[in-house]
């Protein structure tokens, strides 16, 4: 087992509030790693720290043996971290193919290779017919696919998905799961944040539970959901709502 991503004692504070408190975890090459937790538990903050949009106040992040804690976000992309944001986030006034090609050009120095990769990623995510459209004309599912194409085109070692099933119908979510599984088998490691456990249970090899910035459990999905502490903070909270 080789670790692709190692997070050691990540701490992030906003003013007096501690959003992440010494969170440590490892992600193994080739697995699908789930992160769950109630709203405000620090999941998205954690992704922001891993991708570099936020600087941690303490701790260390290792990607495939390299320390990336102090690296700028765009350099991390080149090292193999790709990300899907919560809510659909694309460049709304650039055509679909440019949304993908700009990523390719940032990652590969060769223009021709970038173009080839772009058409490949668009084909894989079924967006070729809409390549010249503006993203504002796409359905939520197609927008997700655009974000997925953006991930594929950078040929990442690890992809971070922030609530990839939100806003999708169940059939659409199923095909998203198929895609994730497919590219997982082709060698991409995934970290998935999800609020709805239903989908995560199906694909995650391991999950970690965050609550108020603290890791409270980690393990196989079926074991974690039996953990009394998890039931209390997560499912307890859920039913009370």
């Amino acid at each position: 087992m080789s670790e692709i991503l190692k997070c050691e004692e990540i701490t992030k504070r906003f003013g007096g509030l501690t959003a992440l408190n010494k969170v440590s975890f490892n992600v193994v090459k080739g697995e699908i790693f789930g992160i769950i937790g109630p709203n405000g538990s620090g999941k998205t903050t954690l992704l922001n720290v891993i991708t570099g949009l936020l600087k941690p106040d303490g701790g260390r992040i290792m990607l495939d043996g390299t320390d990336i804690t102090k690296l700028e976000p765009h350099k991390r992309v080149k090292l193999g971290i790709a990300r899907m944001f919560q809510g659909m986030r694309v460049f709304p006034y650039l055509p679909v193919y440019l949304n993908v090609e700009l990523v390719a050009r940032a990652v590969y120095n060769n223009a021709r290779l970038a173009r080839a990769k772009t058409s490949w990623a668009l084909t894989m995510s079924g967006l070729l017919p809409e390549a010249a459209e503006l993203p504002i004309k796409l359905t939520p599912y197609k927008l997700r696919m655009l974000e997925f194409a953006r991930i594929l085109v950078s040929n990442p070692k690890i992809a971070l998905l922030d609530e990839p099933f939100a806003g999708l119908e169940s059939s659409e979510a199923e095909s998203m799961i198929d895609l994730i599984k497919k590219f997982n088998s082709l060698g991409i490691t995934f970290i998935i944040i999800e609020h709805r456990l239903r989908y995560l249970m199906k694909i995650a090899n391991r999950v970690m539970v965050l609550n108020q910035g603290v890791k409270i459990a980690e393990g196989k999905p079926e074991e974690v959901v039996k953990n009394p502490q998890v039931i209390e903070v997560y499912f307890g909270g859920e039913t009370r709502k």
């Binding site: 991708t51 949009l53 700028e72 976000p73 765009h74 992309v77 080149k78 790709a82 990300r83 944001f85 986030r89 694309v90 460049f91 709304p92 006034y93 650039l94 055509p95 193919y97 440019l98 090609e101 700009l102 990523v103 050009r105 940032a106 990652v107 223009a111 058409s119 390549a131 010249a132 953006r150 950078s154």
Partner: protein, 337 residues
């Protein structure tokens, strides 16, 4: 379709308006346009560079750089100082003034490039104000000419003096006009190339969602700095050329009302980030402004500003660009029949 090539016929039709305007501007002096209007057109040609600079940077990244008039005036002052204190002829000062002005613009505004939105606009607007304060304040005013400005021999003046008196002024006007026209045409072609290149789209990506751009691997700081560099190069060239054709150089060049507002207006009315729209608007608006002088005299500023407000309020942006696309479509329809 994205990957399809445009046909040659399409390409020729697409370029028709450009060549028509170019031919028109080249032939104007031969058709008898001279004197006052030639001077005006010279100025409008140079202002095209400023309009394009604003469109290339602020129009794509939405970083509203109101410090443009600083760069414009600074290039003018650099030119004058090089000539007066170092005895460098104006012809060469132009080439030296541009890099100096670009360098200073970059150094002064670089730290603020990480500030977004209204703050960046405020900061950039304060810079020309500070510059005006420095130029007009003791003891700097002694060296920088204060309110009266700096006097020097303008471009080609020595040569013109060797000509018969009757054609001296005409020679200067014509040569200035064609220099400005060449600068405008080259500037436009390069701006078009950059604006719709991969780099141009990266600038737009930064404008649409900077955080996302950084997260997908675009080095946003680098993109912003290079964009700003190109933009200030355009403004510096315009400022240096403009100053080389008139003496003295005064703080009028730095006053935002003179050298920021007209091009900024053209960029917005023309359609931010479209290059073509702002270029057309530059000629339309500035020539309209000058024509108003004959029609309504001193009320022209008020009428022009009311017109401007009306355009901005009714069609928030891109009016000219939309009309242009529409006309082009019709033109294509006519020509392809």
């Amino acid at each position: 379709m994205v990957f399809a090539k445009r046909s040659t016929k399409d390409l020729i039709i697409g370029k028709t308006p450009f060549f028509a305007v170019l031919a028109g501007l080249t032939l104007l002096p031969l058709l008898g346009v001279g004197g006052y209007w030639l001077d005006v057109l010279t100025k409008v040609n140079l202002f095209l560079l400023v309009t394009l600079a604003i469109d290339l940077y602020s129009g794509t990244t939405y970083y509203l750089n109101l410090g443009v008039s600083f760069t414009f005036g600074f290039a003018g002052y650099a030119l004058a100082l090089l000539n007066i204190y170092y005895g460098i002829p104006i012809e060469y000062s132009i080439f030296l003034a541009v890099p100096i002005s670009v360098f200073f613009s970059l150094v002064i505004l670089l730290p603020s490039l990480r500030i977004r939105g209204v703050y960046f606009a405020i900061l950039s607007l304060l810079i020309p104000i500070v510059f005006i304060g420095i130029v007009t304040a003791q003891p700097f005013s002694l060296y920088l000419g204060g309110e009266g400005g700096l006097r020097y021999k303008q471009l080609f003046l020595d040569f013109a003096r060797s000509l018969p008196p009757g054609i001296r002024l005409t020679f200067l006007q014509y040569s200035y006009y064609y220099i400005s026209l060449v600068a405008a045409v080259i500037g436009y072609l390069i701006a078009y190339k950059i604006g719709f290149s991969e780099f141009g789209f990266m600038l737009r990506a930064v404008g649409q969602d900077e955080e996302l751009a950084e997260s997908v691997g675009i080095n946003t700081l680098k993109v912003k700095v290079i964009g700003y560099l190109i933009s200030s190069m355009y403004v510096s060239v315009a400022g240096a050329l403009y100053a080389s054709m008139r003496s003295p150089v005064t703080v009028d060049l730095v006053v935002p009302a003179n050298t920021l507002v007209p091009p900024l207006t053209s960029a917005i009315v023309g359609g931010l980030g479209t290059i073509i729209g702002p270029a057309i608007a530059n000629y339309m608006l500035l020539l309209t402004y000058e024509s108003l002088w004959g029609l309504i005299g001193r009320w022209r500023v008020i009428v022009y500003m009311l017109l401007l407000i009306t355009i901005v309020v009714i069609k928030p942006q891109g009016l000219v660009f939309r009309i242009y696309l529409d006309l082009k479509k019709r033109l294509r329809g006519v020509l392809l029949e």
